[in-house]
C-alpha cells in the first residue's frame, strides 16, 4: 500500500487580533506551505478546511477559501471537531489519499476569534459542550479543565506549583518561536506574586496563568501519496500512525476526573498503527490549552505513569534536552490558541523538527514525532505519529 507523507507546512503568526479578513489570514499560511512544498495551485487536488463554528460570520468557509486561494474547480470539504479540527482534517486527508481519490490534499485550519469578546467566546466554548444539560448552569472551558485539575490534585497530590512549571516551560520556548503570541520568559514565582496578572484565580483551582489565550491564526499542511512525496522539494515526513477517539460530552458521563480517556484511546490506536511505543518518541506536541492538560497528556501518551505527570515536568525531562521534549515551540500556552488552526500548527512544528529545520527550538536528531490534539474537554482526541522513515 502506498504511504502518505506531509510535504508542505505553513502557518501565520498567532496574534491577538489579525488586521484583515479570514481569507487574507489563511492566504498567509497557504503561501508559506506552498512555498515550502514548492508547489502551485494546480498541484492541489482537494482541500479540507477546518475551524470551529460560530467564532465568525462566514458560513461554509471552505467555498470562500477555495475561491480566494485559486483552488476552483477542485473539491473542498469542511471538517470540524472543535479544537482538534485540523488533525481531524489530517485523518480525512490521509484517507482520501489512501483511497486513491486524490493524490495531493491540503488541510487548512483557521480561527479568527477577535471579532467577539472574551465573554462571548467563553459562551460559545461553553456551547461546545452539552447545551441542554450543562450550558444553562453557566459553563466555560477553564472551569471544565479546572474540574480535572481538582480531580488530579485530589487523586495524586498535584499542586498549583506543579502546574506553574508547565507554564514556565512554555514561556521558555515561546521566546524562540517567532510565530508565537507570547514571547516573554515567565519567572518561577508567577503564581506567588499576588500583583501578577497570572496569579488570579479564573476558575478554581486554575489561575489565569494556567490558561492559554484566544488568538487569530491559520495553518496549512499539504499531504501526498508516496510517489509524489518522494519527488517533493523537501524531505517527506511520513504519517505512520493515526488514532482518533471520543468520550461523553456531558461530564455526568465521565468515569474519572483525573484523565481524558479519549486521548488515551487515540494514543493506543496511533502507537499500534505505527508499531512503536511511547519510549520511541523523540519529540511531541501536546494540547496544552491549560497547564493541567499537558500533565494529563503526559499520562495519556505514556510519557509518564498515571499520577507521575507532575514529576516528569519537575525533572525537566520534557525540556528540549530531556528524555521526551514536549511543546518546545511554546505550545498553546505561549503560541495562543486559534482553535481550528492549532492542530495544523502542532503538525508543522513536528515536521520542522523531523526535518531538522526548527532553528533555536531544534531537538537533537529526532526520528519520530507525535501530535496530541484534543477537542472540547477530551470530547474528541486525535493522536498522530510522524516519522522521517
Amino acid at each position: 500500500m502506498s504511504r502518505v507523507a506531509v510535504i508542505g507546512v505553513g502557518q501565520t503568526k498567532f496574534v491577538r487580533s489579525y488586521p484583515g479578513s479570514i481569507r487574507e489570514m489563511v492566504f498567509e499560511a497557504f503561501k508559506e506551505a506552498m512555498g515550502d512544498a514548492q508547489m502551485t495551485v494546480k498541484d492541489i487536488d482537494a482541500t479540507i478546511v477546518c475551524s470551529a463554528p460560530e467564532y465568525d460570520k462566514q458560513r461554509s468557509p471552505s467555498g470562500v477559501l477555495a475561491e480566494y486561494l485559486g483552488l476552483n474547480p477542485q473539491p473542498t470539504f469542511y471538517a470540524e471537531s472543535l479544537c482538534s479540527s485540523s488533525t481531524t482534517g489530517l485523518r480525512l486527508a490521509y484517507s482520501l489519499v489512501k483511497a486513491g481519490l486524490h493524490e495531493t490534499v491540503m488541510i487548512i485550519g483557521f480561527q479568527k476569534m477577535s471579532e467577539i469578546s472574551a465573554a462571548e467566546s467563553q459562551e460559545r466554548m461553553g456551547r461546545g459542550t452539552d447545551i441542554q444539560w450543562e450550558a444553562p448552569f453557566g459553563t466555560m472551558m477553564p472551569a471544565y479543565y479546572a474540574m480535572f485539575a481538582r480531580g488530579h490534585m485530589t487523586k495524586y497530590g498535584t499542586t498549583a506549583d506543579d502546574l506553574a512549571q508547565v507554564r514556565i516551560k512554555s514561556s521558555t520556548y515561546g521566546v524562540f518561536n517567532d510565530k508565537a503570541m507570547l514571547r516573554k520568559q515567565l519567572s518561577a514565582d508567577i503564581f506567588k506574586d499576588p500583583a501578577s496578572p497570572m496569579s488570579g484565580i479564573l476558575a478554581s483551582p486554575l489561575r489565569v496563568g494556567d490558561c492559554c489565550a484566544n488568538a487569530d491564526g491559520a495553518s496549512c499542511i499539504i499531504v501526498a501519496g508516496e510517489k509524489k512525496a518522494k519527488a517533493s522539494a523537501k524531505k517527506p515526513v511520513w504519517i505512520l500512525g493515526l488514532g482518533s477517539a471520543t468520550a461523553s460530552v456531558n461530564m455526568a458521563g465521565r468515569e474519572l476526573f483525573y484523565s481524558l480517556p479519549a486521548a488515551t484511546e487515540a494514543a493506543n490506536q496511533a502507537y499500534k498503527m505505527a508499531g512503536v511505543s511511547p519510549k520511541d518518541i523523540d519529540v511531541a506536541e501536546v494540547h496544552d490549552c491549560f497547564t493541567i492538560a499537558e500533565v494529563l497528556a503526559y499520562e495519556s501518551l505514556g510519557f509518564a505513569k498515571p499520577g507521575e505527570g507532575p514529576a516528569l515536568i519537575r525533572s525537566k525531562e520534557t525540556y528540549k534536552e530531556g528524555r521526551i521534549p514536549v511543546n518546545v515551540d511554546g505550545g498553546l500556552l505561549a503560541k495562543g490558541h486559534p482553535v481550528g488552526a492549532t492542530g495544523g500548527s502542532q503538525i508543522r512544528t513536528v515536521v520542522l523538527q523531523l526535518r531538522g529545520e526548527a532553528g533555536d527550538m531544534q531537538v537533537k536528531d529526532p526520528a519520530l514525532g507525535l501530535v496530541h490534539n484534543v477537542g472540547g474537554v477530551g470530547l474528541y482526541a486525535n493522536v498522530s505519529i510522524l516519522g522521517r522513515q
Binding site: G126, A135, P136, Y144, T154, A203, L206
Partner: protein
C-alpha cells in the same frame, strides 16, 4: 383550537436555556413539584441522568421516571470568578459533579456553601432551585 401550541417548557431550565423543545419536557414539571428526576429504561433497566427519552441499548423509547433522592458523593468542582456572557451577574458560583453510583449528575453548588467548606468525597444532596423569571434548576447542598 386554531394554532398548535408548542411545548417549550424546557426553555425555563437554568439561567439561560438553549433548548426549548425536548421529549423529556416533563422533567420541568417534576422540578416544579420539587423533584429532580432521571429516566430508567423499562427494557434493560439502565438509569439515565441527565434523563433521556430513548435507550440506545434496546432502541426503545419506553422509559419511566425515577427520583434522584439519595445522597451523592462530590467528585469534583470548580468555582468560576469569570463568567461566560449572560452569567456575569451570578459570579462567583461553583459547578460540580456528584456521583450516585449508577449515574452522575452535573450541576451547581448552592451559593450558601463557601468554597472552602467543599471537599472531594463529601456527601451532598440535590435540591430544586427557583430562579428569576420563572426559570428553574437544581443545586447541590450539604447532605
Amino acid at each position: 383550537m386554531s394554532k398548535k401550541e408548542i411545548d417549550n417548557r424546557f426553555s425555563k431550565f437554568g439561567t439561560i436555556s438553549f433548548t426549548a423543545t425536548t421529549r423529556i419536557n416533563d422533567f420541568i414539571d417534576h422540578l416544579e413539584k420539587g423533584k429532580v428526576m432521571g429516566t430508567r429504561c423499562k427494557k434493560c433497566g439502565h438509569r439515565y441522568f441527565p434523563p433521556r427519552a430513548d435507550c440506545f441499548n434496546d432502541l426503545t423509547s419506553d422509559m419511566e421516571w425515577f427520583e434522584v433522592n439519595d445522597a451523592g458523593k462530590l467528585l469534583t468542582f470548580s468555582t468560576l470568578k469569570f463568567a461566560p456572557a449572560g452569567f456575569d451577574k451570578e459570579i462567583p458560583y461553583t459547578i460540580a459533579v456528584l456521583d450516585f453510583g449508577d449515574y452522575k449528575v452535573f450541576g451547581r453548588v448552592d451559593n450558601a456553601i463557601a468554597e472552602d467548606k467543599l471537599s472531594v468525597g463529601m456527601p451532598m444532596k440535590i435540591t430544586v432551585n427557583k430562579l428569576p423569571n420563572e426559570h428553574i434548576n437544581y443545586l447541590f447542598t450539604t447532605a
